[in-house]
Amino acid sequence: MSRFALSSSGTSTFSVNRRQSLLQLGALVTLPWAAGSALAQQSFTVQQSNGAVQIPVKPKTILVFDMAALDCLRALGAQVKGVPEVVKFPQVLEQYASKDYTRIGSLFEPNYEVVKGLNPDVIVAGGRSAAKVPELSKIAPTLDLTVNNAKPVESAFKHLKILGQMVGAEAKADELIAAMQADIDKLKGLTAGKGTGLMVMTNGGKLSAYGPGSRFGMLHDVYGIAPANKDIQVAGHGQAISFEFILKTNPDWLFVLDRDAAIGREGASASKLLDNPLVNATKAARKKQIVYLNSANWYLLGNASPGSLHDDVTQLINAFSQA
């Protein structure tokens, strides 16, 4: 009995070892973008700021901390196991409010016990959870899909490709990318010559402004809306401004992100806040060109995913085609 046990465990150890070494061999041979390789891919390498990471192909248990990545996976038709706890899921991600998905922490802070307990094959983090990538990497291979604000669209496309490769849906990823690009091109064609725009965020009754290169800079950098003020410095939560600043900047378009609404707490609404003599004197107000953006999409997904980008670009296309 004891001999049998010994030999049996010995055999299984050997076979695991052999499989592992085959895996490693596969990983060594497979280059990041070597699509169409004859070898069956077991994993592929993604270069990240903290070094290279081996991402398994067709992983069974996927945990996602980043909302944009979650939308990408949804669009790719992939199954995920765990999602973060949020007060209210953005419309495009409503399906994940179901109890079928395990809550694995907040957008910022993983619940490590739950994460570990799920024994994930891969974890997808980024943006708000980027700081936790090193810690998460100790549990499972972790993708850091933080959007590069200087190149938001390139980032989004790159991330979609990586996720497509991961879940074995490369063709679908390419299709989604083409659709996103078409949306953007259509909007770009409409914004030229339609005047300048200013992006503000309202938060607890206070205002901040965002310009080109910021987290909402794609309005100017990608969608082609001329910035009403080119000098707004890039800062995580924008630059604190007064209503006078809006009047002085006097944009043709005012884009408003109501942060309180974005996180599912609609208090004194942004429109009430902005209904004052100073804002009402701007060109944007007089032309009725104050656009209340879909806060949850802009704030939580940053237009870095197929669903949110389509919805948000469509809203802007509608606004600009009426102007």
């Binding site: 949020v86 007060v87 907040s106 957008l107 938060n203 607890g204 009754g205 206070k206 205002l207 402004a209 410095q233 939560h237 630059q239 604190a240 401004i241 007064s242 209503f243 006078e244 600043f245 009047l247 002085k248 942060r259 309180d260 996180i263 707490r265 609609e266 208090g267 004194a268 806040l273 004052n276 003599p277 100073l278 004197a281």
Partner: protein, 327 residues
């Protein structure tokens, strides 16, 4: 000290600063605009900015600054300690917790209800502070503010924890640091209430002076000490709540201003309360002007400016006192 000889220049200085405050901002408002406003009613853009934004902001600064300073003075008499103020003894932090609870339970709460809730929390927090204080035997000068700081730390941590759990950290931060940038017509009027309360404090000044001498002394003079303390706490709580709901927590004014005035005028509340109100308004105006100027056209919140200037002044005050006492 002859009050009248000082009163005229003091009022003049405040008026000049308030006038400058009207002129500083992103849009162009000139002296001519202000003159025009008083001479004949013109409805140009600059006049609109003046009426809708500058005047409300300047008034809000005057009201909030003086109210917070007077609240600090009262609290110092009631706690019989010169180093307490609403933001170092749990009043302001409790009011903040009330705001958070309001946002969680009833996000569309009208502003008066919000203030009421904040005031109730502020009352409870202040009462807790005084209750803890009455159980402490060793009332050395620095023990009292330390107890207050510990208590406000605990309350603030609890608030932060709730805010963190419900993803409201940044919303909470918006009233943790005072900021006058969003003050326009229609968004500051609640502060007039704090003026009413400040006037009440002025009327009752003598009683608070007596309260500052302790329970036994006050009772011997025929005052209902407990009722007086309750009234004082109510005044401080309502003032703090109205300021926090409108602009956020303004630190240090209530601590530094009464102490500076005390150095000159002494402990008599009736003599000092007007000076405290004056200096509080002055300090608020100066700090807000600095915040508006350093990174124009953007703004540094007054809470931040006040934190920097206030802590420096507080240190200077402590060191000056030690020197005077020969330490």
């Amino acid at each position: 000290m002859r009050p009248l000889a000082f009163a005229l220049p003091a009022v003049a200085a405040l008026a000049v600063l308030a006038f400058i405050s009207l002129l500083v901002g992103v849009s162009d408002v000139s002296v001519a605009t202000i003159v025009r406003l008083f001479s004949h009613n013109e409805d140009d853009l600059a006049t609109q900015v003046l009426v809708a934004s500058r005047v409300p902001r300047t008034l809000a600064l005057l009201l909030a600054g003086s109210a917070m300073a007077v609240a600090g003075l009262l609290m110092q008499m009631l706690a019989r300690n010169h180093y307490v103020e609403p933001s170092t003894m749990g009043t302001a932090e409790s009011a903040g917790m009330g705001m958070l609870v309001g946002v969680l339970l009833w996000p569309d709460m009208p502003v008066f209800a919000k203030m009421g809730l904040a005031a109730v929390f502020a009352l409870a927090g202040t009462a807790l502070f005084l209750a803890v204080l009455s159980r402490i035997r060793l009332r050395a000068a620095l023990i009292v503010p330390l107890v207050g700081l510990v208590l406000s730390g605990v309350i603030e941590s609890a608030t932060t924890f709730i805010a963190y759990r419900f993803d409201l950290m940044q919303t909470a931060r918006s009233w943790m640091t005072a900021d006058f940038s969003a003050i326009v017509q229609g968004r500051y009027e609640l502060l007039w209430l704090s003026l009413v309360v400040t006037v009440v404090a002025m009327v009752a000044a003598d009683r608070f002076t007596v309260a500052g001498m302790g329970q036994d002394f006050a009772t011997n003079l025929g005052l209902n000490y407990k009722r007086l303390v309750a009234q004082g706490v109510a005044v401080v709580s309502v003032v703090t709540a109205s300021v926090i709901v409108t602009v956020g927590i303004i630190p240090f004014v209530g601590l530094i201003v009464p102490n500076l005035v005390r150095l000159v005028v002494g402990d008599n509340v009736r003599k000092s309360v007007l000076w405290v109100a004056w200096a509080g308004a002055l300090m608020a105006l100066v700090c807000d002007l600095i915040g508006r100027l350093v990174i124009a056209p953007y703004e540094v919140p007054i809470g931040t400016v006040m934190g920097v200037i206030g802590s420096a002044m507080f240190l200077a005050l402590l060191l000056a006192r030690r020197k005077r006492m020969g330490g």
